[in-house]
């Protein structure tokens, strides 16, 4: 490809598009350092809202809950989703089409419907709502996303490398750990990352499946902004944006250090 520069109007257009996406976030970050309590006018710089935030027991508890749910659901859904992707890649069986389609339905189903159905389901089997039910729900909606991402990665996977490993004396299990998994690892990491961020900021499904004492950050923020968006919420959101940004960055670096599989 030539290194041609785009036309001026294209560049301006692109700049506007980025501004449209990032300007509101920028405003939010700026106002988190505002001494004014109302997000209207800039008064002066302060870190007091961060201080308030770090002393807010409810926020700390919600953060802890969110992280527990996110880590647990990410690990479990990544394992299940990856295995599902491998199975769909490797085997053809009666009902294959149905198995494939049904796996992806949760991606397009309205979240409200999924939330309600999960709530009804947990109630019918007598599960107490709390961290456990939220985690189970997050695992459920994350599996299809992980499978989608890993399958995309598996496309063009040369299965002769698995045969080569077995040919060289590795049994099925060793072949999986030493050859298959390292080869698809970038896809698995991408899937895990997506699952983690989806779990971090899920509101609707979490709302339906939460119980007493299991408030997560999204739920906490919604209750805080019921009357007004306070600078404390701005500060919390700023930290959150920063966290997601770091997670994404780590993911990018991890992906790059993994040698991308050669497509043939």
């Amino acid at each position: 490809m030539s290194e041609k520069k785009p036309a001026l109007w294209l560049r301006i257009y692109a700049l506007l598009a980025y501004a449209y996406i990032y300007f509101p976030i920028l405003i939010l970050i700026i106002f988190s350092f505002n001494t004014q309590k109302i997000n209207v006018r800039w008064e002066g710089f302060t870190l007091q809202w961060y201080k308030v935030l770090f002393n807010d027991q409810n926020v700390i508890l919600a953060t802890r809950n969110t992280l527990i749910i996110a880590f647990t659901s990410t690990i479990i859904s990544t394992v299940i989703g990856t295995l599902a992707a491998l199975a769909l890649q490797r085997y053809r069986f009666p009902g294959y089409g149905a198995a494939e389609s049904l796996l992806y339905v949760p991606v397009i189903i309205p979240e409200v419907v999924m939330g309600i159905s999960l709530l009804a389901f947990f109630a019918s089997i007598g599960l107490t709502l709390g961290l456990g039910t939220i985690t189970l729900s997050h695992i459920a909606f994350n599996i299809p996303f992980v499978t989608l991402v890993v399958r995309a990665r598996l496309h063009g996977f040369d299965k002769s490398i698995e045969e080569a490993a077995m040919d060289l004396g590795a049994n099925e299990l060793t072949t999986f750990w030493r050859v298959t998994l390292p080869t698809i690892m970038p896809g698995v990491l991408s899937g895990a990352l997506l699952a983690f961020t989806l779990s971090l900021d899920d509101y609707v499904i979490t709302y339906f499946t939460a119980g007493p004492g299991s408030t997560t950050l999204p739920l906490r923020i919604f209750s805080m902004v019921r009357f007004a968006v306070t600078p404390e919420v701005n500060a919390l959101s700023t930290l959150w944006v920063l966290t997601v940004f770091i997670v994404l960055l780590i993911g990018q670096i991890a992906q790059r250090s993994q040698s991308p599989q050669q497509t043939r």
Binding site: S160, I161, E163, A164, M166, D167, G169, N171, R264
Partner: protein, 378 residues
């Protein structure tokens, strides 16, 4: 040590057809491969050669029949318990490992000590001329080099048999020719039995001790390159290996050594050697290789010397093509039959028509030993 390195005894392999029914990939194949032999499975794509190789490796199991490696029946022995190693067409290198780790993988699986692994891997890399490349990743190597890594990775295990699935298929022509010679030299050096799958007849002829020609799941002929080329046992083998001319006719007379065939569409009769059992009146195919005919002018006839041999016919030159070493001539044999004749350019001249001109009326002759009579199939 048993009699054969590898033996396929009446092996059948059927696959379910996605559209229903079954496909027979290998149809009652029986092969005996000797120790230390360079044995090729040759045939067009879909002939069952790769499936046969994969069954020896253990990636597929026969539907019926049995495969023996060094006399032991393999049954459903998984690939990691068979004393064979494979070089894949796609090389199948582990991209996330270095070249050293790739080659060492098989030894690690055997539990070979670290010191011995290092020694053997280095020896293997040296053997394929990749000394010092151990720390690189496969992607950093050229196609030919990756091919050598795949070879080293399989050979370092010291297998009883090395299986090669079109290993040179992805290389360009020049590199392929070089690697053919190298592979053959390597095979002689290590003395391991090679089973080599290819669709390239020239490759098979160059490298093999023996060749099995396959088509549509059937093993048609097994023999040394010279036998396969000079004495094909059927029309497919004659056609697939090298180039040839086919003529059609009926058996007129038979004696122990020769058969006389009267050709369809003309009064002409050919004397040739029978490759198979024939009876009088049988429909047959006659195969004559283009390099095994001679074109001559009628001078010997004019001066009264009749050619005291059969298979002399007047012909007309249709066209000639100069290709450097040879001139390829198309002649009108009469009865609507055109034949290819190849002659070596043993004169150095700039006149590409020095030998023959289109339209010229000449004679052709072929020795009876060069006229192969084959049964008509189908």
């Amino acid at each position: 040590m048993s009699q054969f390195a590898v033996e396929l005894r009446d092996v059948v392999k059927r696959f379910p057809n996605p559209g229903g029914g079954e496909i027979t990939a290998v149809n009652h194949a029986t092969l005996q491969i000797n120790h230390g032999e360079f044995f090729s499975l040759l045939g067009p794509s879909g002939c069952g050669k790769t499936t046969s190789l994969r069954m020896v490796a253990g990636f597929e199991w026969p539907t019926s029949g049995e495969i023996f490696i060094d006399g032991k029946p393999m049954g459903r022995t998984p690939p990691f318990l068979r004393p064979v190693n494979t070089v894949f067409q796609s090389y199948a290198l582990f991209q996330h490992m270095t070249i050293f780790q790739n080659v060492a993988f098989g030894l690690e699986m055997e539990g070979v000590s670290r010191e011995e692994t290092r020694r053997r891997v280095e020896a293997a890399l040296e053997m394929v001329q990749l000394t010092g490349m151990g720390s690189r990743k496969p992607r950093q190597l050229s196609g030919g080099q990756q091919q050598r890594v795949a070879l080293a990775r399989a050979l370092v295990k010291r297998p009883a048999v090395l299986l090669l699935d079109e290993p040179l298929g992805a290389l360009d022509l020049k590199l392929r020719k070089e690697m053919q010679l190298e592979l053959k030299a390597l095979q002689e050096q290590v003395g391991i039995t090679f089973i080599y799958v290819t669709h390239d007849q020239e490759e098979a002829l160059t490298m093999s001790d023996r060749i099995a020609v396959m088509n549509k799941g059937n093993v048609l002929q097994i023999g040394a390159p010279v036998e396969i080329y000079e004495r094909p046992n059927c029309r497919f083998v004659a056609d697939f290996i090298g180039e040839t001319n086919f003529l059609f006719g009926k058996v007129k007379a038979i004696d122990p050594d020769f058969v006389i065939v009267s050709l369809h569409g003309s009064e002409r009769e050919l004397v040739g050697i029978p490759l198979g059992k024939f009876y009088s009146g049988q429909e047959v195919v006659v195969s004559v290789r283009p390099e095994k005919m001679r074109i001559f002018d009628d001078t010997p006839l004019k001066i009264g010397v009749t050619p005291n041999q059969p298979n002399c016919f007047p012909i007309r030159i249709i066209n000639t093509m100069y290709i450097g070493s040879d001139t390829r001539i198309v002649i009108d044999f009469g009865g609507g039959t055109q034949l290819k004749v190849w002659e070596q350019n043993h004169l150095s001249t700039l006149d590409t028509l020095a030998y023959y001109a289109p339209g010229q009326e000449l004679w052709v002759t072929m020795r009876p030993e060069n006229v192969l009579i084959l049964p008509q199939e189908e």
